[in-house]
Amino acid sequence: MRIFTTILLLFIFSDAIAYLDPGTGSMLLQVILGGVAAVAVAIKLYWHKLRAALGMARKEETEDESV
């Protein structure tokens, strides 16, 4: 289960090498460490990103994510 969420998370966001934001990776890791309860969250994170990439996200959804 953890492998599934890990794979999902490793492909969610685009790779970026810039200055170090200390918490981002650690926050995402908490989804993986959340175990079974986290699978739905990981899928939803992935789903949001996929919709955004395809230009299918609802307006309020993208706004919410850019807060």
Partner: protein, 467 residues
């Protein structure tokens, strides 16, 4: 620190919602409006009341402006003030043993678990927020408790890894003392450093793959991401059950971590001391008689080993700070269930002591700024400091005289096996190491009140008091 004036705690600047002040022997905390609101809300929670009752969090109460003795310009800076119960001696993680850091980690996780289960969280996870009071861990940074926002991850998780988990891994998995790492970087062992310290084989050890390797991968991949991960997590339904699942797994992981203390030079010293039982009893009696007569409040036992003489002192005074360079010996003292609560065992090297460091070199302070001894025990130690650490005897006595008015010091002659062993592979340039030189140096500051010969004159105990 002048005890009659107000002093800002130099290490309390990080959180802009509060600041700690010392006045006489009392400890106060100025709080912003939001911090004060959180505290009032926290006080109404039954989980917090239980933590306070069990002594797991420091006794704290809100005080009125009338009760507040701090100057008016300080009072004007904050919406309100708490008063905390004072801690006898503040200690730092790089002075703790493995089991002390582990106990602090367990308390930190216990607090997060209880807070999150009750709609609160802890905004950080720093072992500097935990202290040892009567042998038990106590959390002292009350404003760290905050209401948990919906969808919010545990913001202290990374700090927990860097300041508790990775140092514990270093000791448990690599057998490497963690203290120099904690003293070398004020924020602990960062994720990227940990991932270079733990190699491929270590990934098979419990917790390393996820907390070290995967965290470093995710950190490298998303560290510079412009995404607002917090809000993405929130909208994806991140909830407190995820935090609790992680925290409970961490509790199990920390609980299982063990360190097989080995390779200690001094851990067995008490069993293998090289003087007769009669002399040993004489030494105990000498120490007991001096402490009984001098009635010190605080005793430092420097080079305490497993604490044989610290225990004698603890029965006769309020507080003992027992320090030794040897992690294993201090660990034994801490883990011994018969160790009295008023002994604070610390890993500390006189020749390489805790420095003043951090922001402005005063965020963390040296040990003598945190505790002043009324009497110092310096037993079977000076040959190590003079011969092994190359400290001139005169300078050593200068330092001791600056530290204390009352001193019990042991001279170990060159005929002693320990001294012979120390000199075996060294060129003997230690002409200052002699009984005559010690006595002359002591007399520069102290009056030698009593002395006791042992081992046919190979060892001598001196009780010294400043006139």
């Amino acid at each position: 620190m002048n005890k009659r004036t107000t002093a800002v705690n130099a290490g309390s600047f990080r959180d802009r919602d509060g600041r700690v002040y010392h006045f006489q022997e009392r400890v106060f905390r100025g709080m912003s409006e939001s911090a004060l609101r959180n505290f009032r809300q926290l006080q109404e929670q039954s989980f917090y009341a239980k933590l306070a009752k069990s002594g797991k969090v420091i006794g704290s109460r809100e005080i009125s402006a009338k009760e507040n003795p701090l100057p008016s310009d300080v009072k004007a800076q904050w919406a309100g003030f708490l008063e905390h119960d004072p801690v006898a001696v503040i200690s730092y993680p790089y002075e703790w043993t493995f089991s002390m850091l582990k106990a602090a980690a367990s308390l930190q996780l216990h607090l997060v678990e209880h807070a999150v289960s009750n709609g609160f969280t802890l905004k950080d996870a720093s072992p500097y927020n935990i202290q040892f009071v009567n042998g038990n861990t106590v959390f002292i940074d009350i404003p760290s408790f905050e209401p948990l926002q919906q969808g919010e991850p545990w913001s202290g998780y990374r700090q927990f890894c860097e300041m508790y988990l990775f140092p514990l891994f270093l000791q448990a998995y690599k057998g490497c003392n963690f203290q120099p790492f904690m003293r070398g970087a004020i924020d602990g062992v960062d994720v990227q450093t940990a991932s270079t310290l733990f190699g491929f084989r270590d990934r098979f050890r419990k917790g390393v793959l996820s907390h070290v390797w995967l965290q470093s991968k995710l950190d490298r991949r998303y560290g510079g991401s412009s995404e607002n991960i917090r809000s993405s997590l929130k909208s994806a339904g991140f909830n407190r059950e995820l935090i609790l699942a992680n925290v409970r797994k961490l509790q199990k992981l920390v609980h299982r971590l063990g360190w097989e203390a080995s390779g200690s030079e001094w851990g067995d010293y008490a069993e293998f001391h090289n003087y007769s039982d009669v002399d040993h009893l004489r030494k105990e009696d000498f120490v007991r008689d001096v402490i009984t007569a001098e009635k010190p409040d605080t005793v430092w036992d420097i080079g305490c080993n497993t604490g044989q003489f610290s225990r004698i002192a603890a029965a006769l005074c309020r507080q003992v700070v027992a320090t030794d360079i040897d992690h294993v010996a201090v660990e034994r003292l801490y883990l011994d269930e018969n160790t009295p609560g008023n002994i604070l065992p610390l890993v500390h090297n006189v020749a390489d002591p805790s420095p003043n460091w951090g922001w402005r070199n005063c965020e963390r302070s040296d040990l003598q700024s945190r505790s002043r001894p009324d009497l110092v025990l310096c037993l079977a130690l000076i040959h190590h400091l003079v011969i092994s650490a190359n400290i001139p005897l005169g300078e050593l006595i200068d330092w001791l005289a600056g530290l204390t008015d009352k001193l019990v010091i042991e001279y170990v002659s060159r005929k002693d096996d320990k001294v012979k062993a120390l000199l075996r592979n060294k060129k003997d340039k230690y002409q200052d190491y002699s009984r005559e030189s010690l006595e002359a140096n002591l007399k520069r500051y102290f009056e030698i009140r009593q002395q006791q010969e042992m081992n046919n004159g190979d060892r001598t105990l001196y009780s010294c008091v400043k006139p």
